[in-house]
Amino acid sequence: MTKIESTFFDIGYMDRLSTQETPIHRLDPRAKLLTTLIFIVVVVSFDKHEISGLVPFFVYPVVMIALGNLPLVYLLKKILLVAPFAFLIGIFNPLLDRELLIHLGPVGISGGWISFASIMIRFTLTVGATLILIASTGFNAVCMALEKIGGPRVFAIQLLFLYRYLFVLVDEAFRLVRARSLRSFGGRGMGIKAFGSLVGHLLLRTLDRAQRIHLAMLSRGFDGKIRLMRPSKMQIADICFILGWSTLFVLMRLYNIPQFIGKLVAGLVQ
């Protein structure tokens, strides 16, 4: 029960984060969407045993979180919450790939552990970048960006619809669940049969609601297009944002900065 509420609360919280006023929030949604995509593609393009080359990429989430005034601990918690899948698939690597790749004095580290660490780093980076995109842009703006970039209009519009009615219907589902658990003793009525009619009723109500919404929209002149008030124009800052980050990502992909720094330091020490 608390889980239901917290999931719902989550969406609302992410939405509130996206209404802040910071330099990052003021950027054009398209700029942030494109940069996020480039970031993810560059990160996953590394060889599966790469660790040190991935480290510099933390600069992107760190800068975005700092400038966008986003809650670091909250985002980390969210990343941790979805980690199990990547962890469960990744954890087989150390068991299957046991060739020793690195020797740190007497301790040998197998390729499996390295690729496992690499998977977890990639996971943190990619999931982090996605969450940052939403928390700094907001869902409506992302949909708009999707349409402006050339995504199908029907798709973008119904994404907007889905998001808008999500809040209403989740509320309704929550009331249903509460009503059922208040009337259920010893787990009775929690089975598939009651579920069928419960969800069936919710569905019927949803369909009626959809029809009312449609009629309401028609009477207000809906013609299949959604017009948004906010003007969105790519400005120099947005283009600089995309180009700057992309150049940095490509450079970090081509040159292993930690190796370089490490060698420099080792050279100084000697």
């Binding site: 619809f161 989740v170 930690p258």
Partner: protein, 342 residues
Amino acid sequence: MHMADALISPAVGGTMWAATAGLIGYCSKKVKEELDDRKIPLMGVLGAFIFAAQMINFTIPGTGSSGHLGGGMILTILLGPYAAFLTMASVLTIQALFFADGGLLALGCNIFNLGFFPCFIAYPFIYKKIVGNQPTRRKILIGATLAAVVGLQMGAFGVVLETVFSGISELPFGTFVLLMQPIHLAIGIVEGLVTAAVVVFVWRARPEILEKAAVSAPLGELSIKNILVGLLVVTVITGGALSWFASTYPDGLEWSMFHTAGTEELEEPEKGLHTSLAEIQEKTAFLPDYGFREAETEVAVEGEAWPAIDSGTTVSGLIGGVLTLAMVALLGFALKKRDKTA
């Protein structure tokens, strides 16, 4: 069942994005052609309904654990394949963006696995064939269960293929298949039963809803030829991308050869899942496999682009990594501080 960005390669992710984007475009066109603008709000609201329904748990008979609805099949039955595919795609997009379930690059894979198979394979070829135009309770039950099982099996197989082709996970094909398919058989049966329960309820209360949905997407309109051609194109592209990929990283083929041979080791991972246990296991397994591993290392040295095995470079990499992280963190603090003073 959701793929994660961390486990796929850009080649696989990109191919699946292209395939999915093509399907979304095609479906959008089809929905527009139907000229039924009642459908757009309906799709959006039903997508939200799937989220809401997922929040209602039920006890799974015989196990005592609880499950929730997946939703692909219900959407298809109510909306027809094209609109349902779009709706499923938007449900998954929201899950990817807000709950970080799956990822942006893996979104293509996820939409394809969870949307394409139920909408364009399981629905027209199984559910529609069984239920026909005169639905009965039994027909709906059998049709929905079978369709859900088949759809999920194909989706799970898609996950396996995409993961194995990406080559980030070491899981060999055979093991992964044995892991995924039975689990999803169980999930599929439960999903099918639940879907049937809801559909039967709707059919009893308001039969015209199902009839309308069935009419708006008759089987004849669904061009199987187009889909087959599309699938063929996707296969060719995937094959092309893969052969390119395989030649850049020959280890992908090597491990599958090595590890499918070593299946007897795979019984153990179950108990060794815990990290420390796994470490102990690795140490104990150190000697028996030694000769074998030596050979493997040689292969790896030849075949892989792993740049540095000598410890000097490794140590400098480590130091450099730590220093880079420290610098990044400092930068973050500095920006934050400037933000507050400003």
